[in-house]
Symmetry: C2
């Protein structure tokens, strides 16, 4: 399957677009064919205009039709077979078995959202029956339900070229909600983006859905992203990436004459607290688990633990010896692209030079820059240094973590209190640690979107109860998740229908409850007809 390198807008290749760029394989730093075209202003305008046109019909098709569309996308992605996996491997350096798993996750996400909208209760249907005889004023018939907000712009992430990219969770949830999607493909894996965009386009064609429901444009400059977010027809933005880029889009979206929401997942240290008894009895086990959590995917997960807090003492020393040994057994890994690798190297050097920050361990082999490699490393410092040095509070993307030694439990609590917003926070505790664990979780609940007891934060389940979000700067909207069934809630708003005749109402709000969803009728949850 040959790649054309052009934007795919409303079911067709968009001609006469902007400047070009090439992707490079991190495996060998060689350039990859073909040239990819940045989206021109005309291309972006066509994509948004087509999305707006498509929205008129797409928002009205049945839940079953939308669910079938999501299922068809999943099938088309699987039909790409090894072509997709091989291109993604070339562009990202991620191993084929990891990419096979990620494809399964991507397909699973699409099918999860299909099941969510087939069941229908997510839409929060509410009915207040009329009270015509009420004094002093009658109550009218009121019925409300969530409706889609319109065209959504999605920014794919580099570290999940399938699951957080063109047909990732943002796209799947927005299409499920009834919103057309324009994806800004990640320039590090543009060929993968093109392949998946083709799969979505085919699925739309098969089901006779307006082609404007989906477009994918390339952009290796900030201007493309800004033009998408600033376009008047864009109604919301989904983003996964760096704090700097996410905040820039957030600011631009809020400075529009008509501000729009930006759901950006950006930055997290994912702190881990090791309490004394756990440290005493499980030092080797926790060290091995931590090493795995730091190094999986070459540390390129948004849930990589970047900081570990523990009380100083002999048990911590034992733990550090185990961790040092574990890290010593790791090997260099190829990062997603040279920009990420260079940023990792620079940040690692910068942190290592901070007075009172020591290198605990690093993998024994030198990284091969021609293979875009990095090696895992662990730094150690004390709590005063941590509190003083703001650089130690910033996420470093890659296989690095910082151990912070604290003098007491009170100091651990103080360190927890000083944390900014996080995606996750973890406590390792045995039974004798539980009172202290409770204190810590009481603080951490205000800092993070997911709390773990005796676990590691890497590995984000795609399910109903998952929350992948958290206070700023981990995301821009702590109310919403970007992973799991609830992610659909980002792309909708309620509309209340007052005194409507049945044929004007959405099916979900008619007396008979023909789709059988759970509704709030006069304040009571029920699936009953009225």
């Amino acid at each position: 399957m040959s790649l054309h390198g052009k934007p795919i807008v409303a079911g067709a290749i968009f001609q006469s677009s902007g400047s070009t760029f090439k992707a490079f394989s991190p495996i060998n730093t060689h350039p990859l064919e073909p040239l990819f075209e940045n989206a021109s202003a005309a291309c972006i305008h066509t994509a948004l205009t087509s999305a707006s046109e498509a929205f008129r019909s797409y928002r009205k098709i049945s839940n079953e039709q939308r669910a079938s569309f999501l299922d068809a996308i999943a099938e088309e992605i699987l039909s790409l077979g090894d072509t997709l996996l091989e291109r993604a491997n070339l562009e990202t350096g991620l191993p084929l078995d990891r990419l096979t798993g990620e494809r399964g996750r991507t397909v699973g996400q699409l099918r999860l959202f299909a099941s969510v909208i087939r069941e229908g209760s997510w839409a929060d249907a509410r009915i207040d029956s009329p009270l015509p005889a009420r004094q002093p004023l009658p109550r009218p018939d009121l019925r409300s339900i969530l409706v889609p907000i319109g065209p959504v712009v999605v920014f794919g992430a580099s570290n999940f070229p399938l699951a957080f990219s063109v047909a990732g969770g943002d796209t799947a949830s927005a299409l499920a909600a009834g919103c057309p999607v324009i994806v800004k493909g990640h320039p590090a894996h543009p060929g993968t983006c093109e392949l998946v965009a083709t799969a979505i386009t085919k699925a739309a064609q098969q089901l006779g859905i307006h082609p404007g429901v989906f477009s994918m444009v390339h952009g290796n400059t900030p201007e493309v992203g800004m033009a998408l977010v600033s376009h008047p027809l864009c109604r919301a933005v989904g983003f996964t990436g760096s704090l700097k880029a996410g905040r820039a889009l957030f600011d631009a979206a809020h400075q529009r004459p008509e501000p729009i929401p930006v759901f950006a997942e950006m930055s997290s240290l994912n702190p881990i607290f090791l309490l004394p008894d756990a440290l005493r009895t499980k030092a080797a086990q926790i060290a091995e688990g931590l090493k795995n959590s730091i190094t999986i995917g070459v540390g390129q997960f948004c849930t990589k633990p970047g900081i570990v807090f523990a009380q100083d003492g002999p048990d911590l020393q034992t733990f550090l010896t185990h961790l040092s040994h574990s890290i010593g057994s790791t090997v260099p890994g190829t990062m997603l692209h040279s920009g990420i690798r260079d940023a990792f190297e620079a940040a690692s050097k910068q942190l290592s030079k901070i007075p009172r920050v020591q290198l605990l361990a690093r993998a024994p082999h030198s990284p091969d820059t021609s293979k875009t490699q990095a090696i895992p490393l662990v730094l150690v410092t004390d709590s005063q240094t941590f509190e003083r040095e703001s650089a130690l509070h910033e996420e470093v993307f890659g296989p690095i973590t910082l151990i912070v030694k604290s003098a007491s439990h009170e100091e651990l609590l103080q360190l927890a209190n000083g944390l900014s917003g996080q995606l996750t926070a973890t406590v390792h505790a045995n039974e004798p640690d539980m009172e202290h664990a409770r204190d810590l979780f009481s603080v951490l609940e205000q800092k993070a979107g997911r709390l773990l007891l005796n676990g590691f934060p890497t590995g984000v389940e795609v399910s109903h109860a998952m929350h992948h979000g958290g206070p700023y700067p981990s995301t821009t909207h702590s109310r919403f998740t970007s992973v799991g069934a609830a992610a659909i809630q980002r792309w909708v708003r309620p509309v209340c229908f007052q005194n409507f005749t049945p044929d004007f109402l959405p099916a979900e709000l008619r007396d008979a409850n023909p789709t059988g969803l759970m509704r709030i009728f006069d304040g009571q949850l029920t699936r009953n007809a009225i």
Copy 2:
């Protein structure tokens, strides 16, 4: 009951605050005692710090305790008796019967939120059971629920001195969610604010709730509001007021190092479309209803219809004759304060001077400025003038509406398409109009938060299915309502607990489901224990 005029911070009168101001009675433009003190920076800092301290315990008390607190506030407000109603009447000019009704609404809101949190299902509890044998990776135990976000700053509105003020819907819903509240009282009714703040303070004392859970500060300068929104401990903002003030707070909140959400309800034209057959058969009835909807509360409702679209012709002429006659029967009314009255006068004059905008009717009596009066008026124009003149697209607060004559149904649709975001949009239609009504609603659903068929938008029911919100500029967050049970959703965020032992979990997430709420268990809604 004598008033002291000082901020009430964490259960006590705050001494040594800032500059002072007086309120004036709009009934006779006389100054009212006492002097009120603007909040100093120290006062604001104390209020936020106390709220943050109170949050530690308040977020953990049981739903029943929080519900009892809301019920106790309702009782304390009722205990203020005529003192409250008389002061509110003096400060706002609103008649005592209207204020009695509004007090009932305010108390009803508090009790509604008490019932919502007693039932508990609003908190979106979700449980995914562990799958330890799953390949290639086990699934952990995942449980999520909504938790309060922290101290909320509420800006009271001038037009509902009870229901959208100190103990209004924002405060009631935030306290229900578990968030401490700092209210910036409206400077047009500071005595009313003080009385209600005292009631809330008493209720907190009765129930032994940390006094920092509630503070009320005065401010007749933009600086007080900005200082509250910019304070690092403020976690969210509720606002009802003008577009200018709301946008300024929204911008300030988003430019913080750590941005926070601002739920501002600001501006709406509440368009009404009159379709031909309805106009033909119900001209007199619609004219009378429209007159009532324009003039109720001297036009000072956020849902006052500010614009009416209809096809030109003999039936519209008949309707305009009826409307003119109806408006001719109205009398001057006292507005909330001279600032609002002056703005109304200025805007009415400005719009009347636009070429091709004609005065259709006005109340026959001259307004008495010493009683802060305004008189209802209706303007008429054509669709070209409306589309050209941006001033005609802005809300004028007060008893004024603009009739826009259109040449065809297609032009009506085009006018609907050109509207900005609205709280409400209404269509009057008979059976022969239904196809056209359907076309219009299809457009209006994208423009407004509440759609009405054959009704008038004034009168916002406090219920489960109500949505009082809409796309910008009607609000800053179309996803959320400021009225009704769902308003609680603004003050929470989800937290997911992974691999937690039962005693660490909130009661709502324990296997036994001791509080009996509806939960999503492995994707299925159920009240069952596990």
